[in-house]
Structures are given as C-alpha cells and as structure tokens.
C-alpha cells in the first residue's frame, strides 16, 4: 500500500505509524523514492538529490523492520526517510561536497550525527545538492548544477544547504540535515518555507562534517515543523569524544518543555524576547518588516515580554565572517591535493599535480575564497585582517552576552533581508555574501538560532529568526513552537 499523505506527514507522525505497524519502513522509503522521482520528473527538474541508492535504502528499511520485530518497538525516527547534505560523511553513498575534487569519493566512516539518527531508526535515502564545500547562499555554486526552489523553479532555494531545504519543501523527506557556517540552514529554510535549526556551536558533533570553517561549522536540521526539527536536533546533540570542540553540557529534552506548555494559553509567560533594531534597517523589504511585526504581536499575545535591544556590532559581521571563514577554509581545503583520495589531474611533476588537481577540482567561488583566505593569513596581513577580525568577532559575541545578560531570553529577527531571488540574479560575490547579513552573527558568536515560516510576501515564504543563549536550545524551541502554533496556517500565507 502507499502512504497517501506522505508529503505532508511529519517525522513524528510517520515514526508513530511505523512504530505501531500501520506503515512499514519499506513503504516509507518507497514513498520517498516515488516522490523523489515525481519532482525530478517535473518540467524543469529540481536537481535536489546528488546521490541515491534505492536498493541500499530498501535494505536498510528491511533491516530496520527485522530489528523492530525483535525489539518489539522502533526508535524515535523509526523508518523516517532522511536526506543528508553532501558534506556529511555517510557509508555506502558518495560524500563529494558537490565538488569535482571529491568526485566518486565514498567515505569509509560515518559522521557521528548520522550514526545517532540511524540508531533512532532514520533511513538515509540520499545526499542532497549544495554550494560546493558549502560556499554560497543559493546552491548555484554546485559542480552538478543549481537546485531549484520547489515553490518556484525560477528561484534559488537558498544555500548552501539548498538541496536539503528543497527536499523537505518538495515532500521527498519530512526531515533533512544541512550544515551551517554563516546561515546555510536558516537562509534556505526561509527561502523554501520550512523550519531550519543551527544549534549552539559544540552542541552537535562535527565529526564527519567536511570542514569549511571549523570555528563556525555546525550540523543543522530541516523539518516541516518546529517539533520535527527539534526532535532531530535533540537526537544529534551531546558530547562526542571524537570532536574536541563538542560540549559536555547536558542536553535536556527540548520537546518535553514546549509540549508541556502546549495547552497553556500563555506558553511564553515569563519569557523576555529582544528585538534588535540593527536587524530592521531602513531598506528592509516592507513585506518582511510587517510580517515580523505581526509575529512580534503574536509573541506578546502568548505572554512574552518584548523589548527593544541593541547589537551595535552587527554591521561588522559580514566583513568579519568573510575573513575568518575563508582563512580557515584555505587551510581546511589544503587536504584536497589528489594524493590520498578524490580527483587527481594527470601531471608529470608533483607541483603540476597539485596545481592542476586543485584548479580543475575547485569551482570559481571556492578558488576565490581559498585565495582570499590565504591572503589574509599570509605574512604581513595576518594582524590587519585575521587577528583584527577575531577581535571584532569577540565584540560581536559580547553584544549577545550583554543582551542575554540583561535579562533577555531570546531574540526575534527576520532570517533574511529578502525572499528567494531568481537563479543567476546575483553576480557580484559581495552582494551574494550580504544575504547572510542577519544569520552570520549567530555563527560568529556560537549561539543557537533557527528560522521558521512566518508568512509570505508575493507568494514567497518569509522566515522569522529566533536566537537564544549558548546551549539554551530549549528556550529557542519553546518560543518557536509557540509562535508556530499561534500563527497556524497564516505562517504559509
């Protein structure tokens, strides 16, 4: 039998059906595969999935079914199809970061986050398209062509995790994994009208996430609603002995907290939400502004105390980000040299092998950032650029510390300055960088942040961003869940 409402079913609902036996893992996987075929067959083709192995997915489903028979129950994601960004190491499927330089590379080990999700019954159904090495905000920088926005194929889905956002928006999977360095989950979530979460830096293990900028990278989750995204975050969260930067701070049950308040008319009673004026500039799209104002009113109506706050160094986030991230990237991407794995260009000398492999293997944006990052680290420029940027980064972090120290529990802002733009519309690199203007700050400060749909402008989704204290995902989800519930259908109108 098929699952009629598969494309709208949440992960928690699907897992419940599978756990109760009314749906089998194989049926869930087949439904996902069918939907995947359907959207690819669309006139334009969305180009969401880079790598799939249907037989492998079906084998995993069968194995899970056997396991459930023996155990008498499934995990919290029993049989839930999961789409994974192509920069997260998976067994049996390629992990190429949408780059030619890793063409055909299959990781011999698995990311910790994947292991934890599979232990709860999730089934990896494929690897999703992305900006090469997560460098981009539109998924146009993929060596396998751009992904198209399922809501309007002329538009980008955002990026760099555009494939995963689109996979959820297109109904291929209820939940998906992306990665964040400067907004690569929240921005595409906003553009595709889904929920996207960037946990606190150190909350989710980076082991198996191909590094772009190690001090900023975090694996994040996409869901059709807050609850699903929170569940996936909760499962991935927690210290990992394989990642020295993962935190041993305890992980509470995010879901228990907001679900216990679900019936309350004032679920945000006692919560103070700050609205930073720097995130509402003059030139902000009026439609986005009014949707944010509506959400703020809703938050008040839910019992939240709303206050105006200042994050004075916000405007410096993009300059800081585009020094720190490329600097770390220039070093992280040095390992792609054609010696031990991945692509190798034919060459007669070692020098030629390096230069040819890396010039052919990396696309223009990656090349640009490696050059930029190498420059800001090179002798004579380190202090003026990298060191200075790290100091300003500390100022940005203090902005948040001051606001949260002053009794504010969470911040509410727009996720992006615009809605999804047309494929090919933005040519200037720096103009493209500015689409991370409201998101990069959370990565620089390491605080948790998420985007959820708060309405539409011109038929296109708009994301509202909620930012919380370090390791206070619980409050972030509490606010998001309450807002989502209160907005109801309006979130998608």
């Amino acid at each position: 039998m098929t699952i009629p409402d598969y494309t709208t079913l949440t992960a928690t609902a699907l897992a419940a059906k599978i756990d109760s036996g009314s749906v089998s893992p194989t049926e869930a996987v087949d439904a996902s595969i069918a939907r995947s075929k359907a959207v690819v067959a669309g006139s334009e083709g969305l180009n969401i999935m880079l790598w799939t192995d249907n037989d492998l997915a079906r084998r995993d489903a069968a194995a899970l079914a056997d396991g459930m028979k023996r155990a008498g129950k499934g995990g919290r994601l029993a049989g839930v199809p999961l789409a994974v960004k192509d920069n997260i190491a998976t067994l049996g499927l390629p992990t190429t970061c949408a780059s030619k330089i890793l063409a055909g590379y299959v990781s011999p080990y698995e990311a910790t986050a994947i292991t934890r999700l599979r232990e709860e019954g999730a089934i990896v159904i494929g690897k999703t398209n992305m900006d090469e090495f997560a460098m981009g905000s539109s998924t146009e920088n993929s060596s396998y062509g751009p992904t198209r926005n399922p809501l309007d194929v002329r538009l980008v889905p955002g990026g760099s995790s555009g494939g995963s956002a689109a996979a959820v928006a297109a109904g291929i999977v209820p939940v998906a994994l992306g990665s964040e360095t400067g907004g690569s989950v929240r921005q595409p979530a906003a553009f595709c009208g889904v929920v996207g979460v960037k946990p606190t830096y150190g909350r989710v293990s980076r082991f198996g996430l191909v590094a772009f900028a190690s001090s900023l990278d975090q694996i994040g989750s996409f869901g059709r609603n807050v609850d699903d995204a929170a569940l996936v975050t909760e499962i991935m969260a927690g210290v990992d002995p394989k990642d020295s930067t993962s935190s041993s701070a305890r992980v509470g049950s995010y879901r228990d907290q907001y679900l216990s308040l679900a019936s309350s008319p004032m679920p945000l009673d006692g919560v103070t939400i700050g609205v930073p004026k720097e995130y509402f500039p003059e030139n902000l799209d009026p439609g986005i502004r009014s949707l944010c104002e509506r959400s703020v009113d809703v938050l008040k109506s839910l019992g939240a105390k709303v206050v105006d706050v200042e994050l004075p160094h916000t405007s410096l986030a993009i300059p800081v980000y585009y020094i720190v991230a490329p600097a770390e990237a220039s070093s992280n991407l040095a390992r792609f040299d054609g010696v031990r794995y991945g692509m190798r260009a034919a060459a007669s000398s070692l020098r030629e092998m390096y230069a040819e492999t890396r010039s052919i293997g990396f696309g223009p944006e990656v090349t640009r950032r490696i050059l930029l990052g190498t420059y800001v680290l090179s002798a004579g420029y380190y202090d003026a650029y990298y060191k200075k940027a790290q100091s300003v980064r500390e100022l940005i972090t203090r902005d948040f510390r001051n606001v949260f120290g002053g009794g504010v529990d969470a911040l509410f802002t727009p996720t992006t300055p615009t809605t999804a733009f047309a494929i090919g519309a933005i040519a200037d690199p720096y103009e493209m960088y500015l689409s991370d203007i409201f998101t990069a700050t959370a990565n620089l400060a390491g605080v948790p942040a998420m985007s959820l749909p708060i309405g539409r402008v011109g038929g296109l989704p708009v994301g509202g961003q909620i930012i919380a204290k370090h390791f206070d995902e619980a409050t972030m989800f509490r606010v998001a869940y309450a807002l989502e519930s209160a907005l109801g259908g309006e979130a998608h109108q």
């Binding site: 300059p319 060191k387 100091s391 100022l395």
Partner: protein, 104 residues
C-alpha cells in the same frame, strides 16, 4: 591595502592553485572588491579585546593512549588515486632536496 598581481601570484603559489595570467586582472579586481568592504574593521575599536588572549576555561579534551584506531569500512585502495605495495604514489619531486621541507 590593495591586492596586486604579485600578491595574487604569491597567494596562488602558496595555495597550489594555477591561475592563468589572463585571468589575473579579473582576480585582482575581484579580491580588491571584496577586501574594500573589510576595511571598516580597521576603524572598529578593539582595544578592549584581544580574542586570542582570552583566558580559556576548558582544556582541550585528552584521549587515552590505548584508545585503538578508528576502523575503516573500505580499504585505502578503494579511495586512493594511485597505490603500489600499500604506498601512495605521486609524481617524483623535482628534487628530493625538497624533502627537507617535510621535516616538521
């Protein structure tokens, strides 16, 4: 600070990237275009911080010496571009003297 052609050549050399001469001007312009936006940082007053001098609280976690190796699902040959007798093979270096560079 404006990036020059020589800067780009030097940086490309350091990063082992081949940039052909006729794209050099374009790259110089592009990098300068980006870097000009970074100059605002020089005006930021960071006298109160030196992020690299922050006194850290947690030490980097330590691993037991007897923790075994991480196993691999597939052999090295499955992903290596070129292997012989278990060794990774690369084109011969211009001179082994460069080998001295490998001494850490």
């Amino acid at each position: 600070m404006a990036v020059t052609q020589d800067d780009v050549r030097h940086v490309a050399e350091l990063a082992r990237l081949a940039v052909d001469e006729n794209r050099l001007d374009h790259l110089v312009a592009e990098l300068n275009g980006i870097l000009q936006h970074m100059d605002v940082l020089s005006q930021a007053d960071t006298s109160t911080v030196d992020s690299l001098m922050n006194v850290p609280v947690d030490s980097t976690p330590l691993r037991s010496d007897s923790s075994g190796p991480l196993l691999m699902a597939t052999p090295r040959e499955s992903f290596a571009p070129s292997m012989k007798d278990g060794l990774f093979i690369v084109p011969r270096l211009a001179s082994h003297e460069d080998a001295s560079d490998s001494a850490p």
